[in-house]
Symmetry: C2
Subunit: 231 residues, 2 copies
Amino acid sequence: MTVRWDSPETGAAAAYREIKQRIVNLEYQPGEKLSEARLAAELPFGRSPIRSALAQLKSEGWIEVSPQSGSFVKALTDREISDMTSLRVMLEMHCARIGAARMTDADLAKLRSAFATLGPLADNGDGEAFIEVDTVLHLALYRSTDNQMIAGILLDLRDKVQWIRRACAVSSERVKEGFAELKPILQALLLRDPEAAAERMRIHIESSAAFCRMVDHTASRRARFPTGIPG
Amino acid sequence: MTVRWDSPETGAAAAYREIKQRIVNLEYQPGEKLSEARLAAELPFGRSPIRSALAQLKSEGWIEVSPQSGSFVKALTDREISDMTSLRVMLEMHCARIGAARMTDADLAKLRSAFATLGPLADNGDGEAFIEVDTVLHLALYRSTDNQMIAGILLDLRDKVQWIRRACAVSSERVKEGFAELKPILQALLLRDPEAAAERMRIHIESSAAFCRMVDHTASRRARFPTGIPG
DNA sequence: ACTATTCAACTAGCATGTCAGTTCAGCATC
DNA sequence: GATGCTGAACTGACATGCTAGTTGAATAGT
């Protein structure tokens, strides 16, 4: 990225990480106003790095900036979630296909061990364990696909999915179900069956998306049309 | 998605457009240094909007910023071009599939007329005519696919492709060839054959990518992306 | 009670100045 | 000539103050 790959993190980058994390963790809720001044007071940064961070968050779709008015945490519309899902399905299926063909035996062994360790917890509805094993599986696929651009998009979408997951409470039932969807993916990878892996991945992504719908729509509508909803 | 739909373009946005256009047009060549001060002197903007514009260009991969040193126009590596092509193939094939199924007769009629008007020129090797009809075809497909996230990615990749096209001189032979690849795509769309449209699109994207290789004019130290997928 | 107007507080956009890190031409040394 | 050192010029990161646009509650008018 930069010439100095060991350079210390700039304030702007640190502010970006911090604010984004607070958004994902719902400490800053959808629709909430995030003014530069407020953030500069709340965080150990001046207005300049905060401003840079907000610009990046805006370009990545986490917030909306209204000139001379304020910055607001965005709420994803059903439409955006649906768009996101289509894209994820396509890219994740691609990664699953490639992964089934190219993943090394060492990677597969690591996956198997992760499933063995965390599986029993996930089977009991442990959300954190599920997220952990889900993450291990997907990152391994991104790595074996070896396409930075696709990986970058999927990592970004993953953050958004985490966000949505927190916005709609996830039942332990859904956790068990989700983990049950992961198992056949691993099986297909072990059998090096690209089409089966892709198909199981499709099922996994689509069913996880079906459960997610963002809660706070009113705040977003208020933020977007403060003087009244047109029409 | 801001509150003010009719708000005038900010200086930062105008600077972004201008600088990006100059990069795509090779007025600023790959590897060239673009300091804030220089751009502020060269363009009718102060350092602040220039700084915002550079931040956005950085996050979109057009430039690299080296702290306390300078901003440089990025040169795409063969690897990045290859990554880009894989992604484009996948997404464009998806759009072609959806387009073949969902495109309206009115849209198809417009496409046919565009081919009729510009086709003879493109057949003679007219690069501008080819780009025009190519753009019309692809944008129509993006529109019919009706997924803003995918369309956004493809539009960005399209800018990069235009950039690469200028970086490697395109022969009129290649123009004729490229246009010849578009015809079967239109045919497949008219026949509403999704698989044929997707397959022809794949051929089109891959063959156009095969001709492009970027030249870094400075060829000096160039940092690679050291960050991989963690895990 | 209800609407229209006003105005003070608040907002992001931007200019400008400062600062610390980077760079490289030119000098010193071998 | 080759190598190491120095310092001045340059760079992006950031702080700060100002401006113009936005907002919403208090106010005036009906």
